[in-house]
Structures are given as structure tokens and as C-alpha cells.
């Protein structure tokens, strides 16, 4: 990294090098059996530099020639945007725990055992189900150095178990599944099989549903899949800067129900979305986006913050190119209502667990529409069975403006969203 900086600074005014080195071992299951063991080692190096006041960028995976990388970045700098920020002085930050060396003590045999235990439990509950999934452990090292001085690095471990079940029954195909992940080893395979079996039990029978407006409960999976992408887009400092966010002039206004609070929190110990620094070396922090229904703030990286007269909120994230604003881990605050009480409250309604196609609409204005891939019908306060071949249509801003209740059943979904169930008074349902 020092060599790249040294060569870059011969031609450029300033430069920054970001490197990720990772190793991951996924153990994969297919058709209820162990299928494949993988080992994936990778490294990539990205160079951002400022030449004649403009930003250039290049990256390389694998072994790289420092001079070639610098030349590629210099070549792009002639078109680059004006450098409106300076690379921060880099300081290590050890306050947020993301590394657990005990992950290395989990053997391949242990991982095979975890996956097999879940498959055994699910197959024991439901004959004929076909499970597919993986148990994976990995370590990644993040390093950043800049010509402004300093060097920072941190390591993050990850352990995740995901399992999906597919049940073909009378020409129907039913999907169920769960995922748990952490920076520490996950050993509670029973929590995963219990969740999959819960979904199977609720979907045991098919239930008829009619077109119309019905009350709806989004389970944690439903919230994560159907409601969050419009909000992630609307709170992005870049969408706000471009004037394409419906919330652009709503800071401080009560746009959502008073029971609804949302934050981006990369500071929680051992969560896969946590990190002490963002991908530009800025210290991360917990950012409240919505507090009791009011819009509090948007999230920024260095460049977008500079363009809009703000400071970076520690949300500069790289996903294949230059850093841009992205969330780390969204947390929706718990309410006080149990899922059972929400269900009891409904005369006729629908529970949405998985919505297919929700992100294919006009996310910018909050509209979503999708096929209920996994959902249940409620009649007179109890679940009567699975709803299928059904479309719902809603708008996130209308749904979250008046929420009937927020659940007390918060859980992490894949390590990047923590949410309870949310009960909304009305959604439009279309069925044949």
C-alpha cells in the first residue's frame, strides 16, 4: 500500500488506498445432503487520487502492479469530479467489536453437523421437504492508508447459517426458510429449525382470499423484504441532494406514525453489519433516521456530504466501485404488542412473510406491489392457512403514516436488519 501511495503522489496531490483481504469457507447442502465444500480467498485494492483538483479511481483484484494501478487512476482523473473533500487523517478505532478469533475453532465437521441437524429436524417434521442451504465462516481484513497520514485497519469475522425448504404438494410449491448470522460462531441450530417449522405449520393448508382492502401484518421478514428499500433510498443523502427523495424537505416533520423509530446502527457488538470505520476511514456511529415518526437526518459519505454542506455520517460504503452512501444495519425500535395479540385483533386480514417483486416498482415514491410468496390468511383472530396467487399493492409512506401496532418480536434478518412485526390497518389485495 505504501508503494502505491508513493508512486501515486509523484503525479497526484493526494491519494488513498483501500484494501480488503478475505477468506471464506462455505459448506453447502443440496437435496437434504452435504453437496460441496468451498474455500474462497480474495483480495482487492482500490486507489482514489486527486490530480489537478479532480478525483480519479481504479481498482484491481489479485496481484497488481502498483504503477499500472496508478496509471489507470490518473487516466480517469481527467474526467473525475472536482475534489470537494480531503481524505481524513486515519486513526484506528477499536471501540466496536467485530472480530472473534474463536470462529477459527469451528471445524468443517462442526459446520456439517449444524446443517445436518437442521435438515434432520425439518425433514422429521415434514416428509417430502427438500432442504438447501449453507453454513459459512469467514474472516475479512480491511485496511486504509492515505497521503494525509495515518493508517487504519480492522478485522471482521462472520458466521452464517441459512436454510431453505421447498415442499411440492398437489402441484403447489411452498418455500420456507431462515438465516442467522453473527461475527461469532452461531451454534443454536434449533432456533433455525423452529422458525422453518413455524412457517410450515402456518402454511399447512391453503386459504382462499378475496380482492379488497384488508388489514395486514408484516412479519420481520415481511418488513425487511417489502417496506425498507424505499426508505433506504429516501434517506440516502445522494437521493436527497438530487431532489428525488420524497423526504428532501421533511427534516423535523412527522411523516411517520409516532410509534415508528428507525436508525442505522453499525456499533452493535458482533453484528455482521457493524464496523468501526466506514470504507473511507470515517468513524462510524449510530445515526437516528426517524425518531417517533419524525424525520431526523439523512446519511452521507464524504463526497455527498461536501456537495450538500453536511458532514459524513460514516456511511461511505464501497460495493464494487467508488464509495457512496449506504446503510450498515437498520434497526426498527420494538413496540409493545405481541404477534399473537395482533392476530387476535383481526376479523379478516393477511400476514405477509415473503413478498416477491416488491423491489420492482417505483421505489422512489414508495409504491410497491408484489406476489405474496409466503403469507397467511387470518379469520376471526386466528391463522387459517397459506395465501397464494395473490398480489398486494401499497405505498410505504401511506402504510407507515398510521400504524396499528408495532410488535415486541424484534429479530435480526440476515444480520443487516433488525425489526419487529408491523401491523397496518389497510393494504390493497388482488386475487383471482
Amino acid at each position: 500500500m505504501d508503494e502505491i501511495l508513493a508512486i501515486a503522489c509523484k503525479s497526484a496531490q493526494s491519494a488513498e488506498v483501500f484494501r480488503v483481504t478475505s477468506s471464506r469457507t462455505p459448506v453447502q447442502f443440496e437435496a437434504n445432503r452435504l453437496k460441496q465444500i468451498q474455500t474462497k480467498d480474495a483480495s482487492s485494492t482500490a486507489l482514489r487520487l486527486v490530480k489537478d483538483g479532480r478525483v480519479g479511481f481504479a481498482q484491481a483484484s489479485g496481484r497488481i502492479n502498483a504503477a499500472e494501478l496508478v496509471n489507470m487512476a490518473l487516466d480517469t482523473s481527467q474526467f473525475g469530479f472536482p475534489a470537494d473533500f480531503t481524505f481524513p487523517y486515519l486513526q484506528p478505532n477499536n471501540a466496536i467489536k467485530t472480530y472473534d478469533p474463536s470462529i477459527e475453532n469451528v471445524t468443517i465437521d462442526d459446520m456439517i453437523g449444524l446443517g445436518s441437524a437442521i435438515i434432520d429436524a425439518v425433514c422429521h417434521n415434514t416428509a417430502g421437504i427438500i432442504c438447501e442451504g449453507s453454513v459459512s465462516r469467514g474472516t475479512a481484513t480491511f485496511e486504509i492508508a492515505s497521503s494525509e497520514g495515518g493508517y487504519a485497519s480492522y478485522r471482521r469475522t462472520n458466521f452464517s447459517i441459512s436454510m431453505d425448504g421447498m415442499l411440492v404438494r398437489d402441484g403447489d410449491i411452498l418455500y420456507v426458510g431462515d438465516i442467522q448470522s453473527s461475527c461469532r460462531p452461531v451454534s443454536d441450530h434449533k432456533a433455525i429449525s423452529r422458525e422453518i417449522i413455524r412457517q410450515l405449520e402456518l402454511a399447512r393448508e391453503n386459504a382462499a382470499i378475496h380482492s379488497g382492502t384488508l388489514p395486514v401484518i408484516f412479519t420481520p421478514y415481511g418488513v425487511a423484504g417489502a417496506l425498507l428499500s424505499p426508505l433506504i433510498s429516501a434517506f440516502n443523502g445522494k437521493t436527497v441532494l438530487d431532489g428525488a427523495s420524497p423526504l428532501k424537505d421533511k427534516k423535523g416533520s412527522p411523516v411517520f406514525d409516532g410509534k415508528f423509530s428507525l436508525s442505522d446502527d453499525p456499533t452493535i457488538a458482533y453484528q455482521p453489519g457493524s464496523s468501526p470505520l466506514d470504507d473511507e476511514g470515517v468513524r462510524t456511529r449510530r445515526n437516528t433516521l426517524i425518531y417517533q415518526g419524525k424525520v431526523v437526518q439523512f446519511y452521507y459519505d464524504l463526497h455527498t456530504a461536501a456537495l450538500s454542506g453536511n458532514s459524513s455520517t460514516g456511511n461511505g460504503v464501497r460495493s464494487g466501485g467508488m464509495p457512496s452512501p449506504a446503510i450498515h444495519a437498520l434497526v426498527i425500535e420494538d413496540g409493545g404488542t405481541s404477534l399473537t395479540d395482533m392476530i387476535k385483533d383481526m376479523k379478516e386480514g393477511i400476514i405477509i412473510e415473503q413478498l416477491m417483486g416488491a423491489e420492482q416498482g417505483n421505489i422512489l415514491n414508495g409504491d410497491f406491489s408484489g406476489n405474496v410468496l409466503l403469507g397467511y390468511k387470518i379469520e376471526n383472530g386466528s391463522v387459517t392457512g397459506r395465501v397464494k396467487d395473490t398480489m398486494v399493492f401499497g405505498n410505504v409512506y401511506q402504510l407507515l403514516k398510521e400504524v396499528a401496532a408495532i410488535g415486541s418480536d424484534s429479530r435480526w434478518i440476515g444480520g443487516y436488519v433488525k425489526t419487529p412485526s408491523i401491523y397496518c390497518p389497510a393494504i390493497s389485495v388482488s386475487a383471482k
Binding site: L34, K35, K40, S44, F79, S211, M322
Partner: protein, 452 residues
């Protein structure tokens, strides 16, 4: 390199081993509104080893070739830990071949400044349109060389050049935000992203028009799909279900997908094939070295074949179709589509609309996904057609169907096949894989449309 790879493959107790190496160079330009947000270049090298022992697989990916012999040994050891039965893998004759990248106007030779100027022109057109709030443009091209060496003696070098461009015009008024996009892709011809000025102006006008368009009413409709959206439909509705890795180890799925089952009327023919030349899903060999084919998935309404890798073909007692593809060296090949389309019929667009009271005419695509049985696909543009005449524009709709009923509800197939090259396909974390899909206009009865 050839000798080095074959040396590394020798002397292991495995039923099959392959080494695949990738070398790539790419460039990328991103605009947000007036700002060029990213001008970047990247280069990459890497490789992987996959080994099969007694039905179990091991896979190792890496960036450096320094430890190739150790990586081969690790893949074999991992496969041995998994393998408990017998390997089933279709036999193949060794192939030695060198396939250079195809191109017309090579994007790699076009200076970044020229690319930038073209995007800037398109951007000015959109931003200069009244009520357009902002834009988003992403352009990327990649030149790739993939080398495959197998323990059976196959050694193939294949080049490929791929490019794509996505533009979005975003209109805003009184707190409402609407957008319309355009996606273009090509296997090695930069000319496909030139001279799009009229189309770009059109998406900007449509985005503005959407601000005053109503939402469609939800419910079951007769729908007519244009060739672009019908291509996405065939990809989601039937293409994925034809991928044998969803079927081969699932006894109930094998029953549902038994060859000879009727899915639709005699007028429906669905094809997939990388041997169909000139599209983004075209190639000479797949990532297991199997020569590309052209496969009829549905012929005259009946399931006739499906897409295979060498493993799924062997396990189902069928022939490999050359559909094992990996997006890059960090993944093993899995069964994927290539160029997927509905063959043209004889109905004209006018005939398709005549005599029907109300039709949703859905055009262009925004996205699509499938759960094999049920699928959704979303239009980028939609109109109500009443008594054969195009009436009001409505906001883009999401449509859904069920494979066991919807294909049979196709009651008219147009004569105007067109291929769409703007999309990419995602499966098992490998996304976006270059594919193409297409169709003539088609009409579907009783199709569920999401809406208020």
C-alpha cells in the same frame, strides 16, 4: 500456461478436476444528475479449482496462481470429505480450442473521453426536459479471457467483450417522484449505445407524463405484452423452471416436470441456446467445456427438454446442453439460461387487440423474479386499451402468474420477434450474468395485475 495447468491437474485421486482462470479489464462511468460521479477502471486476475470425488464437490478460488498445486489438492480433499456415493457426470470428449472475443465496434478501443461525451449528451437531453428532476446513468464494459483446463484433457481459451448502459429519467412534481429507464446491452458492439438520442428523449417525456398518469386498478386482466416484456416473462415464467438443478434431485419436481407434459397450446415454442449467434448469451463452450446448443424447452406446447450441466444431465439420463455458466472465478458453474425466446407466430398486433373490451398493454421491463411456480415481472410502461384503441397511460404495473396456468392462458402469439439485450440474470448470488431474451407480442388471458 497450458503445461503448468495440466501438471497441476495430474496425480490426484478424483473423478474430475477443472481449473478455470479469469483475466479481465473493465471501465465504468456513472452519472447522477449533472455530476459525473464515477469514472473508474479496474483489472482483475483470479482462478478456481473444482474437484469431484464420489459425488461430492470441492471448490477453491484464489487471486494468485502461486499455490496452484496446493489449491488443487485442497479442492480434492474437500470433495473427498463430501463424497459418499458415486459420481455421475456426463462424459465429454476433450476439446482443445482458442476462441477470440467477438466484437464489431470494440468498446475497449473507444477512448473514455468519447464514452463520456456520449453519456453527457444523453444526460443533457434528459435534464433539459421540463419537470425532469434528476437522472441516473451507468455505463460499464468488460473484456475477459477465460481459460479452462480439465483432468480429461480439455483446454479452452475464450474471450468475451460485454457492455451495458442503463439510463433513468426521474421526474418530480408536488412531492411525487416517477422514473422511466432504458437498458441496452451488447456482446462487443459499442455502436449499440450510440445514437440513442431519440429514445433518451422519449424516456424523459414518459417520466414526466407518468406524474399525471393514474395507477391501474388491481385485478385479473387480459394483458398484451410487448416483445421486451414478453422476453422477461418467458425468462421468469419458464426459463428458470427449465434449469435442471431445480429438478434433478427432487422427486416431486421430476414428476411435475416430466418430459411430454403439456403446458400450453400448440402455438407455443420456447427456445434457449448459446448457439444462437450474436447475442449477449451466445458463446462457443460453457464453463464445463460443453459445446453450446440450441434447445427447445417447449415445442408445440409440450415440455420437450431442459437446461443441463454435465452433472444434472447425467443424473437425469439426458444430454448436457451447454448451460453450465459461472459469472466469474469466485463461483462454480451452475445451470443458467443463455438466449431465451418465444418463437414467432402469425398474429398481427392489430388482430391481437381486436374485439376485446379492455386490455392492459404492458411494455418494456423494470424487473422480474420467480419462485419457479409463481413469478412476477414488472413493466416499464403501461396503457389501457379499450375496444382495440390505446387509451390512457397508467403507472408501471407489476404482473404475476403461475407457471401451471399462465402459459396455457397465452392465446395469441405475434409475428414480430425482437430480442432484448439490456438485462442481466441473477441466481444463487451470481448476478448480473449476461443473457438475452425475447419474444413477439403475446396476449395472456386472466393475468393478475397489482394495483389499487
Amino acid at each position: 500456461m497450458k503445461d503448468r495447468l495440466f501438471a497441476a491437474l495430474k496425480g490426484h485421486q478424483a473423478d474430475y478436476i477443472e481449473v478455470r482462470l479469469d483475466e479481465s479489464k473493465s471501465s465504468r462511468l456513472v452519472y447522477r444528475g449533472e455530476r459525473l460521479e464515477e469514472a473508474g477502471r479496474s483489472a482483475g486476475t483470479g482462478g478456481c479449482v473444482r474437484a469431484l470425488v464420489r459425488g461430492g464437490w470441492g471448490f477453491v478460488s484464489f487471486n494468485s496462481l502461486d499455490k496452484l498445486p496446493e489449491n488443487v489438492a485442497l479442492a480434492v480433499e474437500q470433495a473427498r470429505q463430501v463424497g459418499k456415493s458415486e459420481s455421475q457426470f456426463s462424459p465429454a470428449n476433450p476439446v482443445v480450442d482458442k476462441v477470440p472475443a467477438e466484437f464489431k465496434k470494440n468498446p475497449i478501443d473507444v477512448p473514455l473521453a468519447t464514452k463520456n461525451n456520449i453519456l453527457a449528451e444523453y444526460n443533457r437531453i434528459m435534464l433539459g426536459t421540463k419537470d425532469i428532476q434528476t437522472t441516473s446513468i451507468g455505463y460499464a464494459d468488460i473484456k475477459k479471457k477465460v481459460t479452462l483446463a480439465t483432468s480429461e484433457g480439455t483446454y479452452i481459451e475464450q474471450g468475451r467483450i460485454d457492455l451495458n448502459l442503463r439510463l433513468s429519467a426521474i421526474a418530480s412534481k408536488d412531492g411525487d417522484v416517477q422514473q422511466v429507464g432504458l437498458s441496452i446491452g451488447s456482446k462487443g458492439d459499442f455502436a449499440t449505445v450510440e445514437n440513442l438520442h431519440e429514445k433518451v428523449q422519449d424516456i424523459a417525456h414518459r417520466a414526466v407524463a407518468l406524474l399525471s398518469a393514474p395507477n391501474a386498478r388491481g385485478g385479473a386482466y387480459t394483458v398484451v405484452l410487448d416483445p421486451v416484456l414478453a422476453g422477461v416473462f418467458v425468462h421468469e415464467a419458464f426459463g428458470h423452471l427449465s434449469e435442471a438443478d431445480h429438478i434433478y434431485e427432487n422427486p416431486q419436481m421430476r414428476e411435475l416436470m416430466v418430459l411430454g407434459r403439456r403446458f400450453a397450446g400448440k402455438h407455443l415454442n420456447i427456445v434457449d441456446g448459446a448457439a444462437v449467434p450474436g447475442y449477449r448469451g451466445s458463446f462457443k463452450y460453457d464453463d464445463e467445456g460443453t459445446p453450446a446448443t440450441k434447445t427447445y424447452l417447449i415445442k408445440q406446447g409440450v415440455l420437450t427438454s431442459r437446461l443441463h450441466s454435465r452433472e444434472t444431465a447425467a443424473k437425469m439420463g439426458e444430454q448436457p446442453t451447454g448451460n453450465a455458466r459461472a459469472i466469474n472465478y469466485t463461483y462454480p458453474p451452475i445451470v443458467r439460461m443463455t438466449n431465451t425466446f418465444i418463437e414467432p407466430g402469425s398474429t398481427s398486433f392489430e388482430e391481437m387487440l381486436s374485439g376485446i373490451k379492455e386490455v392492459v398493454y404492458a411494455k418494456d421491463w423494470y424487473g422480474g423474479t420467480t419462485s419457479l411456480e409463481m413469478f412476477t415481472f414488472s413493466a416499464g410502461e403501461a396503457y389501457m386499451i379499450r375496444d382495440g384503441k390505446i387509451a390512457e397511460m397508467v403507472r408501471p404495473v407489476v404482473l404475476t402468474g403461475n407457471v401451471f396456468t399462465t402459459l396455457d392462458n397465452i392465446d395469441a402469439i405475434g409475428n414480430d420477434l425482437d430480442m432484448n439485450q439490456g438485462g442481466g440474470c441473477g441466481k444463487a448470488g451470481q448476478s448480473p450474468l449476461p443473457v438475452s431474451n425475447g419474444s413477439p407480442h403475446i396476449r395472456i388471458q386472466n393475468c393478475l395485475v397489482g394495483g389499487k
